[in-house]
Amino acid sequence: MAITSVKNLKEFSTANDRFEGSHLLCPGCAHSMIVRELMNATDDNLVVASSTGCLEVCTAVYPYTSWDTSWIHIGFENSATAASCAEAMYKARKKKGTLPNPDAPVKFVAFGGDGATYDIGFQWLSGAMERGHDFTYICLDNENYANTGGQRSSSTPIGASTSTAQAGTHSYGKTQKKKDIVAIMAAHGAPYVAQLAPNKWKSMAKGFQKALETEGPCFINTVSACTTEWKFDPKDTISITDLATDSLMFPIYEIINGTELNILYRPKNIIPVEDYLGAQGRYRHLFKPENRHVIERIQKDIDEKWEYLQRREEARV
């Protein structure tokens, strides 16, 4: 039985698993929490596509699989295309009457990491969103190419040190800002777009349910704290994510039909971003005197973005 009413963590923790616990993801990886929550957000049948990346290589190593549902992986860039064209086949077979379970409700879901979503699969994702397939794309955003050893992606925030944007005597790490994928997806006119986080599991489950129930292409960016590349203790995944959402580094919000923006979580006490950055090894160098200006820049960007989101929410445009 899936979560039909999201009331308490106990109910959630005992929900049926179509995503089996026996996988190879790092201890403390948030991917599995997010995936499990998505798959428990509906009782409907699921057709899931995954891009090449941590999730894929850790959950479908022949002759094993963690997926007790229809699942497909093709390549790094094309999970949106795999899911959307499986949906096209569903429509064709429904018309022809060749579906084996014609009345069974089904949802089509694609997963991709930020490398697959922001970078290499950007075009495939954009195409699938524009075509208007009835599917949900979920980005597991850990802000780097974790599967290949922590290279920078266009989701990596400014100031983070990665294996290809190294902090050093002449560098403070990545010099470019994180791409605003949520705004880009909303600009496609998608009926439901959101940014969600697994520490706020209720709003996450509701957001997933909303996306799955909404007809048309939906996009959700989820923050997935990466113990290995963000460099924190595996037991701290959720507390790091708390810092991410309470510092507003990851604001939690949805955009309906490209215009109606709703903030889904307002921290009672907004914490300085320093607290979030200081908890992770990838930002350690920013606390040197010569790099403090980057922390100030990040804080300024966060404040401006929060102001922007609140204004958008108020203006309803």
């Binding site: 479908a60 190593v61 064709a92 060749t98 089904v106």
Partner: protein, 413 residues
């Protein structure tokens, strides 16, 4: 329920239209496509059949050829009949997914209208895209004219979807020479064609929720080799199925196809081996030379480029009368002998008579290959035969301007 399409007993179709009609008659469920010259009319045709109720399918126009083949893989894993078309750069862009489609054993049909690969950019026909696909694990059938493009596309579904095969199939035709030249084509009636192709039988259907399936798993050194070995075996073993389907097609239509076609080879002393529309040119040249000059010329043409028909090539070349063979490669060889030369040589090496074999690179970027040039090449083979050794470099270029190009002198008899 799809409307019936009224067809005359004999139609005047170009290769593209012929292929699109075959997709319609096979009632393809999903076409995911991206336009590229000269193959575009095939998918435009499918789109118009959907738009006018002649097919109950989904036409998904994606954002690139990589997306097209990705979409075909996703749709095919969802348990229905899938096809698309492409050429040249589009083929190159989808190459990554071609390997994934065959590795995942999905019987997608891809009609490839052969066109040169850039750079320089060129829209005309040569076989560089076809050659790019030769290690991709697909069955590759080669049509020499519009009738064959139609016939072989129908056969492709039967072959690829056969439960002993389950591999994707390409049907090649030459860009413009075949794709844009209208000829008489005798189609099957809709019901006869569909009956020949048959209902699609899903295997590991993602939409069968009683039996969850995982497509596209990860394997490393522990299992990858076994998967690839089995895939190769399926490809090699598909020869039997190809022969059966072609033979059944002959009983239905009277039109005979073989994995290797041969023309005037019974007593041939010299031969050309070629692919595509050039086969008809070479066959005409052979016929005329026999009449005009008594040169016993013949032509050998692999109808099935993959799996490569080593068996039938060897059988066809293993005759004591045959002295000299020229393999014609319509693709820039990139620092090697042409691929057809290499493969035909490998097959011929195991014959008792071991004819002399030379290589011509020709027709790149759509450069015309005419009957007179085919005759000249036959006569050159005759000179090798008379001399008892190869009298030219082994690799030469036909029809290229500038100083004569030749590589690898030999005097092997």
């Amino acid at each position: 329920m799809a409307k019936e399409f009224e067809l005359n007993e004999v139609e005047v179709w170009d290769g593209n239209y012929a292929a699109s009609q075959a997709l319609r008659q096979a009632q393809v469920d999903v076409v995911a496509a991206y336009p590229i010259t000269p193959s575009t009319p095939i998918v435009e045709g499918y789109g118009s059949y959907v738009a006018n109720g002649y097919i109950d399918g989904e036409f998904v126009m994606v954002e690139s050829e990589h997306g097209a083949m990705s979409g075909c893989v996703g749709a095919s894993a969802a348990g229905g009949r899938v096809a698309t078309a492409t050429s040249s750069q589009g083929f190159a862009l989808m190459t990554e997914v071609l390997y994934q489609a065959s590795g995942m054993r999905l019987p997608i049909v891809l009609t490839v209208v052969n066109r040169a690969l850039a750079s320089p950019l060129n829209v005309r026909g040569d076989h560089s895209d076809m050659y790019l696909g030769r290690d991709s694990g697909w069955i590759q059938l080669d049509a020499f004219n519009p009738q064959e493009a139609y016939d072989l596309t129908l056969c492709a579904f039967r072959i690829g979807e056969h439960l002993d095969v389950r591999l994707p199939v390409m049907v090649h035709q030459d860009g413009f020479t075949t794709s844009h030249k209208a000829q008489n084509v005798t189609p099957l009636k809709d019901d006869v064609a569909y009956k020949f192709v048959g209902d699609y039988v899903p295997v590991n259907d993602m939409l069968d929720f009683s039996r969850p399936v995982t497509h596209g798993a990860q394997t490393e050194e522990d299992w990858h080799f076994e998967h690839k070995a089995r895939q190769h075996k399926a490809l090699m073993d598909s020869r039997t199925v190809i022969d059966e389907v072609l033979s059944e097609f002959k009983s239905l239509t009277g039109r005979e196809y073989n994995r290797v076609e041969s023309y005037y080879m019974e007593d041939a002393e010299v031969a050309i081996v070629a692919l595509g529309s050039s086969v008809e040119t070479a066959a005409l040249a052979a016929k005329q030379l026999r009449e005009e000059e008594g040169i016993k010329a013949g032509v050998v043409a692999p109808r099935c480029f993959r799996p490569f028909p080593y068996d039938l090539i060897r059988e066809t070349l293993d005759r004591p009368t045959l002295k000299a063979v020229c393999c014609m490669d319509k693709s820039a060889p990139g620092g090697a002998m042409g691929a057809l030369f290499n493969e035909v040589s490998a097959a011929a090496y195991t014959t008792a008579s071991r004819p002399m074999i030379t290589n011509y690179i020709y027709g790149l970027g759509g450069r015309d290959f005419a009957v007179e040039e085919a005759k000249r090449i036959f006569k050159e083979q005759k000179a090798h035969a008379d001399a008892g050794h190869i009298t030219t470099p082994i690799q030469q270029f036909s029809g290229v301007r500038g100083p004569r190009l030749g590589f690898f002198e030999t005097r092997r008899g």
